[in-house]
Symmetry: C2
Subunit: 328 residues, 2 copies
């Protein structure tokens, strides 16, 4: 309050020239309403926390309310239970939502599920569609969503918590573990590339954080019938999510930690065809199809990943907040 009065005095009344300028400014404002100084400009000191250029608009920070883990499940009950017990230990977890995408087999009875500390719920879907994993369910009360497959049991508590903390800095990006890259071939087509590259442009939603808002975008605003195409082909829902997010924000996703799913076979053989070849061809087809529907490829390439500040530093492990990260 005293500060505010001081500001008024310093700005408008301190000296005769200032008073004169203030009066002229007020008259000016009345005569030319289109250039009127706003209420805020008149009343607030200019320095603290004011953003004056569109280049540096602050994002609305995510509330520090933790995240909801959304697990897509079908019938792998053993790994599902193992995953639930593992996620339950992550400090920032708020709730687990299991999307049971199997209509032929009911999910296990309540008493068979592991006993965990956090709230959890199963949602029985009415049809086996991949897009079910990206629905903005009412049960999701947090801004942050961890989308995870029921067989991703290799991630450590440290890795998941760390990824969430990184996502909090970048609520407008997909932040996660497995990454891929799109490249352009000589005949101007997109090629889906493996994880052993210097850049990334896709983070797979089999294990990734993103804002719940993108569930809404994916479910209701996806252009060109991509959603129906994904559900029909039972593939590429993760690529579709990367397309819509990058198209919406103009930004690349962010990869966390060096963990990779496969050994680099091509590194040893010098680039010969791997067992995943069919998979890669299918995924490339998706990319080209989506790009044709968008009219352009909205994917953005980025050349860094996020590691803990002391990652790989030669320090005693107990001095590190996230020691259990990145082992292959």
């Amino acid at each position: 309050m005293r500060k505010q009065v001081q500001f008024f005095y310093d700005s408008y009344f301190k000296s005769v020239p200032l008073i004169t300028m203030t009066t002229l400014q007020i008259i000016n404002d009345r005569v030319f309403p289109q250039v009127t100084k706003s209420y805020e400009m008149w009343n607030q000191p200019p320095a603290s926390n004011s953003v004056q250029t569109p280049l540096f608009l602050p994002l609305i920070s995510p509330k520090e309310d933790g995240f909801t883990a959304v697990i897509l499940a079908y019938d792998r009950v053993t790994s599902l239970f193992q995953l639930i017990k593992s996620i339950d230990k992550v400090p920032s977890l708020r709730m687990i939502l299991v999307v049971w995408n199997n209509q032929k087999k009911a999910f296990p009875a309540r008493n068979e599920w592991p006993i965990i500390e956090h709230e959890w719920k199963v949602i029985q879907t009415s049809s086996n569609k991949l897009s079910n994993r990206f629905y903005p369910y009412n049960e999701i009360k947090t801004e942050g969503v961890l989308s995870i497959d029921d067989d991703i049991i290799m991630l450590t508590t440290d890795e998941i918590e760390f990824a969430f903390q990184v996502w909090r800095e970048f609520p407008d990006r997909i932040v996660g573990f497995p990454s891929r890259l799109h490249l352009w071939t000589d005949d101007n087509r997109l090629r889906y590339e493996s994880e052993w590259k210097n850049d990334i442009s896709v983070v797979l939603t089999g294990a990734a954080f993103y804002h719940n808002y993108f569930n809404y975008l994916y479910s209701y605003k996806m252009p060109g019938g991509i959603k129906a195409w994904v559900d029909e082909h039972m593939n590429c829902e993760d690529i579709a999510m990367n397309f819509i997010v990058s198209n919406h924000t103009g930004k690349a996703p962010i990869k966390v930690t060096p963990r990779k799913k496969f050994k680099c076979t091509e590194c040893a053989t010098g680039g010969s065809l791997s067992l995943d070849e069919t998979h890669m061809v299918e995924r490339s087809t998706c990319m080209n199809h989506f790009a044709s529907l968008y009219g352009v490829s909205p994917l953005k390439t980025i050349s860094f990943r996020a590691d803990p500040v002391l990652f790989m530093d030669k320090l005693p492990e107990k001095r590190k907040r996230f020691p259990d990260i990145g082992s292959l």
Copy 2:
């Protein structure tokens, strides 16, 4: 063009209900001008590249026009020349600007300087003020600025180029190498902390990228007479820069690569007093003084750093774009 016509037809003329709705909308717009649909809303298809929520505003991307290296120099000519030759090799460099902050000794004659590929220029300052390094000189034609001390000769080409690429993703943050942390003591004062911590909140401008806009902010918009204080005490210009950037954007700086300036002495001795103790006390004093002038500490803490995607991965070096990064 055909797409645009298709959009008009689909949006406004496809069916009788649509034509009716369009007509009503136009009347509505005329009657209630305050809710009028904008020109863009009428004419542009909604999906591609439109941002509909303030949560995900895209930044204006930096032009890919490289960066200007601003070297603060006084009399260390040997290391200055070594640094210039080293920076000259960085692919994204556009120009080198040497700020010669010594009024007692003239800078070396033109023929003594190393012969380099890029444009360079020396600016003779009129007084030995630290703030001279943060002036938005007319010579700076790029958005990106690398601020660097004349004795930072240990950084590799890979490290500088990589840091610039990271900065391009985050033009609103200070992105650089040496990092520090602020902590709160029990008696509610700020303590300046070393580089061997799990978090960072300050990136030193002895070797850091930032947007030229912040030179303008530092030179003309710094609150509370901090600029004069810095020049008088010949210290803490880097802390002042971190304060004004974080205050302006609400965001933390970003550390790149694990490189550190000092060995972790306290790690071995279990926290005993090091030779830098006086330095740390002085820097803590700065922090507390600035915080009192701001009325608050605007510094933000962050728990990750940026590494190349393949950093520390067990791959042949030749497959990595930035192999020469992070050695101590």
